[in-house]
Structures are given as structure tokens and as C-alpha cells.
């Protein structure tokens, strides 16, 4: 007999990995790790905004995250030192968010659940939102798959084939923002990027094509979510970090196998 909160946690984790696995593959392929950091750290600022103005939590987070993602994408697309700009944005977004939260006593107590998530505390409403949102994100990515992959391989090549690389980049940016907003209750702002990168990195060693890597990333992410929840229940460890730790274990195992050529 599975208790309802465990079922909700499992469902939330598996649902989320659908989006993070697909999107995380692009994050790895396009070297967007820092971009994921900058975007997800901004989620804390979104939490502060939601509480300060009495907005629904997800709406506030989504608004801030989309804004930051678009700003960062615009800045790094133009400048030469995009690594530096992304680093500045990633850490500043986090610092500003923490400062903003300090003015809001109602959030302060819960701060760690926004930083690290609390998958065991998600409600049915969260589960429904996560599944709805992640299916939308996955649908968007699958719909544009060939164009996204082509633009990822080489922008000139894509343009010559009639694909607009800037449009594909915007699709990924927005999908990433939505995924970050959906992830915050599950793994928290600090570990969202880990959920994007680690399963995809683990999947790389077992993949000869982008499609296989994306599917494996989804499966590894889902396995990590289930394993992390189970570990958290058995050993009374924090859930979000446990999920990431299990994903890391999968990554370590993947090192035993050399990448397909």
C-alpha cells in the first residue's frame, strides 16, 4: 500500500523528467549549463515576487524566469564573453533573490524548500500542473525536433535549410523557463540545473544518436526521481538532493562504459 504523498512525489518526479530529459539533452549539446543556472536561480526572485505581491506562486516564478531567460539569452547572444555574463547573471540572480526573500518573513521559514525543493510535500495540484506543463514542453520540443537538432548541430547549416536558428533558440529558452518554474517545488532552484544536465550526461555514453540520448535521459531522470524518493524515505535524507545523488550515481556508472565511438 503506497501512501498518497509518496505516490504524488513519484508522479511529480517522473512527470518532470519528461521535460528535463529532453531539454537537458539540448542543454548539454548547446553548452547551456550556465544558462540553466542563471535561469533557475532567478526562480528564487520569482518566489519573493509572488509573496510580495500576492501572486500565485507559479505565475510569479514563471514571469521572473521568462524575463531573466530572455534577457540572458539576448545578452549572451550578442556579447563575446557570454560565459562571464552568464556567470554574473546566475549568481546575481540568486543573491538578489535571497536578499528579496529576507524582507518577507513568510517565505524565510520555507526558504530551504525553495532552494532544495520538497518533493514529498507536493500536492495533487502541483502534480497536475507539472504533468500538464511538462507534456506541453515535451510536445513543443518533439514538434520542432528536427529543426532544433539541426540548429544545434550548426546554425549556418540550419539557416541554409530554411530553419531559423534564432527562433529555435527562443523555443528552447521559453521551454527552459517553463520547466524551471515547474521544477522548483520538486528539486528547488539550486538543483534544477543538476536535473537537466546529469541525466543527459549519463545518457551520452549509451547513445549513438540524439534521439536515443534524449530518451535515455528521460528514463534515467525518471529512475533517479523514483530512486531518490525511495532513498529519502528509507534513510530520511532530503528528497531533492537524494534525487540528484541517484542521478549522479547513474552518471558514474556511465563512465564505466566508453561513449559509442
Amino acid at each position: 500500500m503506497i501512501e498518497a504523498f509518496v505516490l504524488r512525489a513519484a508522479l511529480a518526479g517522473v512527470g518532470l523528467s519528461l521535460a528535463t530529459g529532453l531539454l537537458g539533452s539540448f542543454v548539454v549539446w548547446r553548452r547551456m549549463a550556465y544558462f540553466g543556472d542563471a535561469t533557475s536561480h532567478a526562480a528564487i526572485l520569482g518566489v519573493a515576487l509572488s509573496f510580495a505581491f500576492g501572486l500565485p506562486l507559479y505565475a510569479g516564478i514563471l514571469a521572473v524566469v521568462v524575463a531573466v531567460a530572455l534577457i540572458v539569452a539576448g545578452l549572451s547572444g550578442r556579447g563575446h564573453q557570454s560565459d562571464t555574463i552568464l556567470g554574473v547573471m546566475a549568481h546575481s540572480a540568486l543573491a538578489l533573490g535571497l536578499v528579496a526573500v529576507s524582507f518577507l518573513p513568510s517565505v524565510r521559514g520555507d526558504l530551504s524548500s525553495y532552494l532544495f525543493g520538497d518533493i514529498l510535500a507536493v500536492g495533487w495540484r502541483d502534480v497536475a500542473l507539472i504533468w500538464g506543463g511538462c507534456i506541453a514542453v515535451a510536445g513543443l520540443i518533439l514538434w520542432r525536433w528536427d529543426g532544433l537538432v539541426t540548429a544545434t548541430v550548426n546554425e549556418e547549416l540550419a539557416q541554409a535549410s530554411g530553419i531559423r536558428p534564432d527562433r529555435e533558440r527562443l523555443v528552447l529558452t521559453l521551454a527552459l523557463a517553463v520547466t524551471v518554474a515547474l521544477s522548483i517545488k520538486v528539486v528547488g532552484a539550486l538543483l534544477i540545473a543538476a536535473l537537466l544536465i546529469i541525466p543527459a550526461a549519463a545518457a551520452r555514453a549509451f547513445s549513438a544518436t540524439p534521439e536515443r540520448m534524449a530518451v535515455l535521459a528521460v528514463l534515467i531522470g525518471a529512475g533517479a526521481a523514483l530512486g531518490g524518493v525511495a532513498a529519502s524515505l528509507s534513510f530520511d535524507t532530503p528528497a531533492g538532493p537524494s534525487v540528484v545523488a541517484v542521478a549522479f550515481l547513474a552518471f558514474l556508472l556511465s563512465l564505466l562504459r566508453r561513449a559509442d565511438h
Partner: protein, 262 residues
């Protein structure tokens, strides 16, 4: 009607004027080579022609629904991205196994569908890129420094293949290069680029033109950089008259005003 043309094209990037007053047309079945030293704006010109770079002046016209087969310069495949040759050939439009294998065979890399792109040699990679470009049934092939990293015989073989393809399919070819002799024999027309079109004409005419010699030196082993400065200087003062432009009339046309000569 020409497949692709640029008229008075200028491209700025920030404060840098990369290209100015570039006039260029490619007609069906023609092989046009753009030649110029590093930093001459060759890749920027290609990016502008395929629509990746917004012109700051002038305009670019492509024939309606122009099918471009593009072979990029030194494409690097991210190590994190697994990609077989076969999968790559189906980007962005799926092709059948038979079509894929036929294209690979035509470019001399048959049976390599299962290989990872990252595991190909330079020559194999260029041929795979060309195979992919052919699958789009292009009206024009745009090749940006396609033989970088190939040795002399590899280069010669690659250009021979391009010529054969033009002969078989009537595809036009726009070739960007800084390696000279192998390229020029195959070309119908050569444009010499250094921010603007310095000179233009049949391969033999261009190689005799002082502008070309100023850019590339007269013979083997000459130092390019020395001549670059001289050249830039001369052309910064285009308005000052024509001491560099006084060739016999059968010589190449001279930019930037060669424009509409057929």
C-alpha cells in the same frame, strides 16, 4: 535569371565595416569562386547570402524557393552530441536509406552511415557534408573553405568531384577559398574579396591582376601580411583615382563598380 545576387551589399558588425559595396551574381550552372585573405569577410559574405547576417546596406536576392546545399567551414560537432552519419543526412528532412547510401556513394564515402561524425577524418567529413548538401537537390552549392585540412591530392579530388557534380546535375557552385591554384582552374569566374570586391574575372585574368597580386603576392613564399597593408592602403583611397586600376580592357572587371557587366 540568376539564382543568387547581392547588390551594393554592406555588413557592419558593431563598429566594424566587414563588407562594403559587394556586387555578386551566381547564374545557374556557374562555378563562382570568392577568394581572399583571412579577415577579408568571406565567411560573413556567405552568412549574409544564406540569410544569417543582416545587411547594413544594399540587398540580397534569391530565386524564389531557392534550394541551397550548404557545406560549412570546419564544422565542429560538440562532443556531447552523438550523431551518426546516417542520422545527420536526415537533418532536417528525413531521407530514405537508399537515398542516403546513394549520396554517400556519389561523394565517395559509401558504407559510412553508421560512423559517428566526430570519428571521421577531415576528408571524410567534407564528403559527408557534401552528401548531405546534395540530398536537398540543390540548385546552388555553397561551399565555405571546403578543403581546409585536406592535403593537395585530397583537395584536387574534392574539387574534381565538385566539377563532376556540376556537370551531372547542372548545379551552380559558389566556392569560398583562400587556397588558390587548385580552385581557380575549375572556376568560371573568380572574385577577389578584401572587404569589397577588388577584382573579378576569369581565373587567368584575375591571377594577372595587380589587385590579386597585391593580396596574394606574385609567387610562392611571399609574405601575405606585407602585401595586405599595402593593398588596404591603396583601396582606402578609392576616390583618389585609379593608379591601381589601369589595366588593358580585356582584363578583369574592377570592383566596386563592376556590377552589371554580363
Amino acid at each position: 535569371m540568376s539564382l543568387l545576387s547581392a547588390a551594393g551589399l554592406g555588413v557592419r558588425q558593431g563598429d566594424h565595416q566587414i563588407l562594403s559595396e559587394v556586387n555578386l551574381t551566381v547564374d545557374p550552372g556557374e562555378i563562382v569562386t570568392i577568394i581572399g585573405p583571412n579577415g577579408a569577410g568571406k565567411s560573413t559574405l556567405v552568412r549574409a547570402l544564406i540569410g544569417l547576417e543582416r545587411p547594413s546596406a544594399g540587398r540580397i536576392e534569391r530565386a524564389p524557393d531557392l534550394r541551397i546545399g550548404y557545406v560549412p567551414q570546419r564544422m565542429k560537432v560538440e562532443a556531447g552530441l552523438p550523431m551518426t552519419v546516417r542520422r545527420f543526412l536526415s537533418l532536417p528532412h528525413r531521407v530514405s536509406d537508399a537515398e542516403a547510401e546513394a549520396a554517400l556513394a556519389r561523394t565517395g564515402v559509401q558504407g559510412m552511415g553508421g560512423r559517428q561524425l566526430s570519428r571521421l577524418s577531415g576528408g571524410q567529413f567534407q564528403r559527408v557534408l557534401l552528401a548531405r548538401a546534395l540530398l536537398a537537390r540543390p540548385q546552388i552549392l555553397i561551399l565555405d573553405e571546403p578543403t581546409q585540412g585536406l592535403d593537395q591530392s585530397g583537395m584536387a579530388a574534392f574539387y574534381r568531384l565538385i566539377e563532376e557534380l556540376r556537370h551531372e546535375t547542372g548545379v551552380a557552385v559558389l566556392l569560398v577559398s583562400h587556397d588558390l591554384n587548385v580552385v581557380m582552374r575549375a572556376s568560371d569566374r573568380v572574385l577577389c574579396l578584401n572587404g569589397h570586391i577588388c577584382c573579378e574575372g576569369a581565373p587567368g585574368d584575375v591571377s594577372a591582376a595587380p589587385e590579386y597580386r597585391a593580396l596574394f603576392g606574385g609567387g610562392e613564399g611571399e609574405v601575405l601580411a606585407l602585401y595586405r597593408h599595402h593593398h588596404d592602403h591603396a583601396h582606402d583611397h578609392d576616390a583618389h583615382g585609379d593608379h591601381h586600376h589601369n589595366h588593358p580592357s580585356q582584363g578583369p572587371h574592377h570592383g566596386p563598380h563592376h556590377g552589371d557587366a554580363a
